[in-house]
Every structure is written in C-alpha cells, then in structure tokens.
Amino acid sequence: MDILKLSLAELKSALDSKKVTALEVVNLYLDRIEKHDKDIKAFLHVAADSARAEAKRYDDMRAKGEMVPPCAGIPIALKDLIVTKDMPTTCASLMLKDYYSAFDAKIVEELKEAGYIILGKLNMDQFAMGSSGETSYFQKTKNPWDLTKVPGGSSSGSAAAVAAHLVPVAIGSDTGGSIRQPAGYCGVVGLKPTYGRVSRRGAVAYSSSLDQLGPIAKTMEDAAFLMDTLSQHDELDPTSCAQVPDSFHKNLNANIKGLRLGLPKNYLTDDVDPEVKSAVLAAVEVYKNLGAEIVEIEMPHADVGISVYQMIANAEVSSNLAKFDGIEFGYRADTNDLNKIYSQTRGEALGVEVKKRIILGTYILQIDQYEEFYVRAMKIRSLIRQDYDNAFKKCDLIIGPTSSTPAFDFGGKSRTPMEMYLNDLYTVSLNLNGSCGVSIPCGFTKVGMPIGLQLQGDMYAEQTLFNAAHAYQNATDWHKREIL
C-alpha cells in the first residue's frame, strides 16, 4: 500500500481498519519533510513532537477500541496566517516572528475536533501579499516541479507542500487568487469556497471582504472531503454563512451530462500563453465528451477586476494592518518615542510589498480621494457581480485558465509590479463576486510545468463545482503525474 497515493477517504479507512497506524502515516510525512523540505522550503514550522504524540494517542484509542474522531490521524498543514496557540503564527513577516496567538482559529478547532493532525505551518507571501511566494521574510518556497521556478502565491508553501507529498492536504487562503494560482502552478487542486463558507475567525486579515480560507489537495475528491469538516457555521464570525451543507464528499457525482459550461468570449486573448490556451481548449473538449454543453458568455468588466481589486484590497490592508504598531504584540523598534515606535516598528518589520500596499491603501481612503477611488471601486464591484449574475443565468459554471502563464522564474516578474498584478487577472473577479472557484491540473508545458484550469461557480454552488472538477479528474490523469 502506497500511503502517498491514497485519497483522504482511503487513508481514513486504512486508519480505521488499522491497516496502518496514525504514527506510521505521520512519520512517513515527517520523514519526507525532513528529507525534501530543505530544498522546497515549504514549512516555516514543523510540529513533529506534538504530531507524533497526537498520532500515538489516536493509535492507543483505536487499539483499545475507543471512539475516535472521524478523521483521526490524517495529517494536514496550515498557511502561516492561521493563528495557533501551540505553534507560532508569523504571516511570514518579521513583524510576527515568534508570535504565539492567545487563541486557536476556528478552522484549527474544527480540524482538531475532526481528528486531523497538524504537522506545521506553511510559508506564504508576507501577510498574503504577493503572487510568487517571494515576499516571505523568512525563505523562498520553490516549485517542486522545477526548483528554479516560483510556486505561485500567496499560499506558496501550501501548494508546494501538497505537490511534493510533504503533507496530504493543506489549508491556504485566497483573497485574489492566492489558493488557485499556486495550486495551478504546482499541479494540485486549489479551492476557493464561497465567501463565508469557511470561518475567517483566526485567519489574520488581509482584505476582510475578499479573504476566504480553503483546501489545497491532490484531487477534487480530497478537497471535497476536507470541506465537509470546514463548512461549519461560526456564530463568532459575522460573515460566516448560516447555511451548512450536507456532505459534499458523499454527494460527489461525476455524471455531468447537460451541465452548461460558460466560456467567456473575451477570456482567451493573445496575452494568454499559447500552451495554457491550448490546454484549456483541450479541457473544454474533454467536457464536451463528458456531455457538458459549452455556451459562450460575456464578462464585460473582467478587464477592470484588477483595478477594483487593488482599490478595495489595499484600502482594507491599510486599516487591517494598522494594528501591527509595536504596542501590544509583535516586533517593536528600539526606541521610547511614541511616534518612532510607530514609524520605525512598521518601517523595520514590514516587507516592501506590504508597505507599498499600505501606502496605496492609505492614499485611496483619504478624504479627497475617497469618492473617486474607494466609492467608485465599490460601484464597479457591483457591476462585476452583475456580470456574474447574468453569466449564471446562461451557464452553471465558467471555464477558463487559472493564470495566463505557467510558473515563472524567481525574480523574473518582481521587477515589473504591473505584470505581477496582472497575473491575478483571471482570479480576482471571483473574489469580488464572492462565489466559489477551483483550479485543477489540465496539462503540462513542453518543459514539464503544470497548467491550471479554473472553474468558477455561483454563490454556494460548491456541489456543482465539485462534481464538474471531479468528473474531469475521473476522465483525465494530469493529477496523477509524478514529479521526477
């Protein structure tokens, strides 16, 4: 039995039927981290001792025939913006180096209650700001398919760790594509659930109206399996949705005959890498063969998504990150002057990209610009939502690329910020709409880099989305390709 190739559901039944112990599983992954993470650099913190202790506890319980939680012994790892009491939460920033939270995130409570074993915390772009993983204060995570390429971002560590089998499944966060884009670059499945589907309590906020936590997994089936644990209502998160779904995993259905897939007219322009374009068009053909109907749709405001996103996300950043002021927690500059505590603490401990966005957001919210930038951006956000509403009258899901290119070289795009931001072109609008979307592997470039296919669904249309992605993975084996 190759544990690395088991689905989460299979791993669960192997554990339940004692074909394998939790300790064996945990040790297998810890050994792989030990062996490979010095190259990949996905983890910022590995909680080996507590993971082994937890695994042993579940093994003992199973041995005694005691009841164990449903997923007891399945390893998982968290993007390092999810706060944890017994591990540091750094947001990959000097600002929170060695910061321990006074409370566990809701998602951590849910995972522990379900029996998942947290192996550690994963690298990311600093405070989730970046699309390549390069803005981490601590280290640059590498793309497991080619260590000279970026893994994407901001959930760089989550995507790379799952791709390299350092952990079977991981949690990321997606504000403008930060789950889907790195999943696409690393050849794994990245799901952004509907806003409010997963509690945000305990996820350090980047842009509160756009942030959403979600799984990065090897398959859609695994992502659906994990979503059954994460889709809980949280009374302490006012934006958490009250509607709790029946099991996504149980209801997975690969029969998608009659599913209407919308292909936006203005999506596949010449800016899209030709290899990406042909992989996406090939995926469309796969869907046709599966019985899906392809409809042409229009997304008239797709091109302004990036600008609207920049306005709204950065405005919120300037406010959300103001609490990192050196007073109550985190880094404090060595000075006694109050104004210097503020300016030097933030000057010294926040990364360049973070500061750039804070300054931009501060400018956008100033009283003279507020109407012109923020209010106008909110109006255009409504238009983008209308685009989606109109599209979902004609189709069930929207199909297209996750990113316009495959993973690029380190440093390659950092010098041109606009190009870097445009990398989010296909992903940001979904966050502005608030609905769900997923990136699944749909091919490889000639040099062997993965290509991501994005499916976008309506608000709370997870089951439809999951079924379509699952059907595609049943019909293809891109997700089974091994890193050499």
Binding site: S101, S319, E328, T362
Partner: protein
C-alpha cells in the same frame, strides 16, 4: 457690535449592558487593569467583532426616547488613527449611515422659556482603552495601557447647532440625562465618564446667518463645567473679535482648575480618519417589530409625566417638575398613591422628608428603607388624625432606622391619639375639676386660657389626646 453664540453639543453616553459591544467581556466598572479583556477587545490578529444585540436595543431605546427616526438599515465604519489605547488602530463607529436620525429635546430656561433643540443623529460606536501614566503602577517614565474600557458600548448624540447660551447647554445636558435615565439606557454618570460632552462653539454678529469659526471644547466632566466652559469660551471668542483678531478652527480643552480653555490642536493638525465601511461587520438591519416592542417597553417620558401630574393630581408645577425629574421619584410617588390617594400630602412628604434623606445619603429613592406603601401609611396616619404631624416626623425617623411598617410602630409604641370622645370628655372634666379658678376665668371670657387647658389635657393623656377633638370637647364642656 452684538454677537450671537451658536452652540452644538456632541454627547457620548456609555450604554448600560452586561457585556461589551463586540465581545462577551464584562462592562463592570472598577476591575483591575486588563482583567475584562479578550482577543476581540484587545484587537489580536485574527479576532473578529460580533455585534451585541443588547447594544442595538439600548441605542434604539435612546432614539425612541428622543423622538428620532430609527433607521431600518445602518452600517458600521472604521475611523482609522494610531494611539496606544486603540488596539486595532481603528474605532468601529457609524459614520455614513447612523442608526438614528433627527429627534428633539425640549428644555425650559430659568426665565420659563421653552426651547426645542433638534438632534442631528445618534450613532453607535466603541470606546477605546485608556493610558495609565507614571509610577503608580510601574516606572515613572512609562505609560501603561488598560484595555478594560476598550470596546465598551457608546452612543454619540449629536445636536444641531441651535443653542445660544451656556445655560441652554447645561439644561440640554441635564434634560438629556433625565430622559436617558428614564429610558434605562445608561447610568449617565459624568464623574465616572459614562456621559461625556464635547461642545462646538462659534459666535457671529447678531443678524448674520452664516456660522462663525467653530471651536471644539473637550474635557468638561460635570454639568456645571459645561456651563462654565461654554460661558468662558463665548467670552474669549468675543474678546478676540472685538480686539480685531480672528478665530481659528481648533480643539481646546477645559482646564477646571484654572477655569479656562486652552488649545489642544488646530485644524491643520486634525487627523484624516479615512473612514470606510467595516468589512467585518454586516449592515445592521432592524426589524420594525423590534422597534415597536422596544417602543412599548419604554416608560412614560418626563415631560408627559410632569404634565400628567399637574393634570391628574392637581400638583403645582414645581412639585410636578421635581417629582418627574427622575424616573425613580415619579415611580415612587405613583406607587405611594396606590396605597393612599392623597396626591398633595404624599407629594409634600416625599419632597420634604424622603428626598432630604436621598440627598443626605446620596442614595436612590428606593434605598432609604422606607417603601412607597409604608410612606403612604404614615401620611395616612397623620391625615386621619391617628397621630399628630409632629409624631409623624418622629415616626419617619423610626421607620428610617428600622425599615418597619408605621402601623406596627404606632401599635407597639402606643402612639395612636385618643380620639374616643367618651374617654376624652372624662379627661377634660377631670382637668376642669382640678382647676376651678381657671375654669371660672375662662367662662368669664378669658379665652387665652384655652392654651393652658389644652396643655393640661395633653399632659394628662400623656400626649395622646387628639388635639382637634380636645378643643371641641373643651369648648362644649366649658360653655
């Protein structure tokens, strides 16, 4: 040139709720520093606010009591600024769409002039923590942050700039306090800071309609200070203009020791707070059913109660004013009337005796130990002649000390007057027999001797004889 002052007030009131506005921490005053805190009111990374429904109810009650238009949808915004007592570095408030719009408050000046002041709005917001400076708790050159007050629930009540004298400003504050106490919204304790006032003051030549340069005054922590600070600031502004100077838009602080205002910051230093909608807090939707049920739960407001006291009980205006000035006074009064329907005597006893105790002890009217029913029984005993007025006052002291019913004390101490005419006649006759010379002089017309005989009779009855009856019987027997 004559100037007309224009005054608007912004009053912060801490709402009376068990827990804070966005978390379940206690709102109790006086806890040790940083004991009533949690990740939310400490602004820890990842924490999220959850709006306390009782805060919304209290804000709506305040709005209804002040005749505001309660908004079905209101929103929360962030006011961004750095200060160590503000852990999130933004205050959650309602800038763009407050929960209450409009409203009025009527005051009556000492000259008897009634004025209705219009309100602009009431919005909900959170309080900040506070800084503790110096060596009382640590190093003398350090400051410490206490977050117990962080996220305490507040409303800010903003008046239109429609007041014109310092007296009006004070009366506005006092009336506001009365109404909010009636509504049960806050304890309105200015010393403990649960009611705080900022005043916006400008002056303009009489007849001018455009507003002058506005100065904001902060730090007035009593009604008297509000009046004094506003008075001072009006005079200061007049002096500047009369001397040919010009005013600058600024914020000034009231110095209670020196009795002056002094500059805190000018308009140029004013923050740009970069208000924007708080993405963590969904729009607050208030159902009309909730508004109606809160409206029904509100007690009668002071103005209407005062009018009714005059109307229904025939009280003089001053009595009605005093007895309606606090909800508890009016409740106490009307409870006493349920036992004894003698509006004026009961009012007199409350105003002269009960409120004296309330003032001496600085306690609530229900905390003297004398219940409204017991007070009514006392008044009844005096009114029906069971005891004399003088005895009544002594009985009041007894009741104060023991908390017992007046009926029991009268019985136990044998205080009841002898009103049995047969028994009294016997006493009267025995006194006349014992003093034949005086009786003769009286019969001859020396009417001054009535006092002598009443005194003797009271003595013989050990003070229990009903004086009025004694008089009647004496006249009958001697004539």
């Amino acid at each position: 040139m004559q100037f007309e002052p224009v005054i608007g007030l912004e009053v912060h009131v801490q709402l009376d709720t068990k827990s804070k506005i966005f978390c379940s921490c206690s709102t109790k005053f006086g806890a040790e520093a940083n004991n009533h805190v949690c990740p939310v009111c400490m602004g820890l990374p990842g924490s999220m606010p959850v709006l306390n429904k009782e805060v919304v109810n209290q804000a709506i009650r305040a709005g209804l009591a002040l005749g505001c238009d309660i908004q079905r949808v209101s929103t929360f915004d962030r006011k961004n600024y750095f200060y160590p007592d503000l852990p999130t570095a933004y205050q959650k408030t309602q800038m763009y769409h407050p929960i209450c719009i409009g409203g009025t408050l009527t005051i009556e000046t000492e000259k008897g002039e009634r004025r209705t002041i219009n309100l602009t709005r009431i919005h909900i917001e959170e309080d900040a923590g506070k800084l503790v400076h110096g060596e009382s708790i640590g190093a003398s050159d350090s400051s410490y942050v206490d977050l117990n007050r962080s996220s305490m629930p507040l409303i800010e009540i903003v008046s239109n700039p429609e007041m014109h004298t310092a007296e009006e400003a004070r009366l506005y504050m006092q009336k506001l306090r009365t109404i909010l106490l009636y509504a049960g919204v806050s304890d309105c304790n200015m010393e403990e800071g649960s009611m705080r006032c900022d005043a916006n003051i400008s002056i303009r030549p009489v007849g001018e309609t455009k507003l002058g340069t506005r100065v904001e005054i902060k730090n007035m922590n009593s009604f008297r200070n509000v009046q004094r600070a506003v008075e001072y600031e009006i005079k200061r502004q007049e002096k500047v203009l009369r001397e040919g100077g010009s005013l600058r838009q600024e914020t000034r602080l009231w110095d209670n020791d020196k009795q002056i205002t002094f500059p805190m910051r000018s308009k140029e230093d004013a923050h740009d707070y970069r208000y924007f909608p708080d993405p963590d807090l969904l729009p607050l939707v208030v159902e009309s059913d909730l508004i109606e049920s809160l409206r029904k739960g509100l007690p009668e407001m002071p103005d209407s109660r005062k009018a009714r006291f005059i109307d229904q009980y025939g009280l003089p205006k001053q009595d009605a004013e005093l007895l309606s000035s606090e909800r508890s006074y009016a409740d106490y009064y009307e409870e006493a009337l349920k036992t004894l329907n003698s509006p004026k005597p009961v009012a007199n006893w409350i105003m002269s005796e009960v409120l004296r105790v309330v003032n001496d002890r600085a306690c609530g009217i229900y905390e003297t130990g004398i219940t409204p029913a017991n007070l009514a029984l006392l008044v009844q005993s005096v009114e029906d002649g069971t005891i004399s007025g003088k005895q009544g006052k002594e009985l009041f002291q007894d009741m104060l000390a023991s908390g017992r019913s007046p009926i029991d004390i009268i019985k136990e101490k044998g205080l009841a007057q002898v009103s049995d005419t047969g028994a009294l006649e016997a006493i009267v006759k025995s006194v006349i027999e014992a003093n034949p010379a005086e009786a003769e002089r009286f019969k001859q017309g020396d009417k001054k001797l009535v006092g002598f005989f009443v005194g003797q009779i009271m003595k013989a009855s050990q003070g229990k004889a009903n004086p009025k009856l004694v008089n009647d019987i004496l006249m009958k027997v001697l004539s």
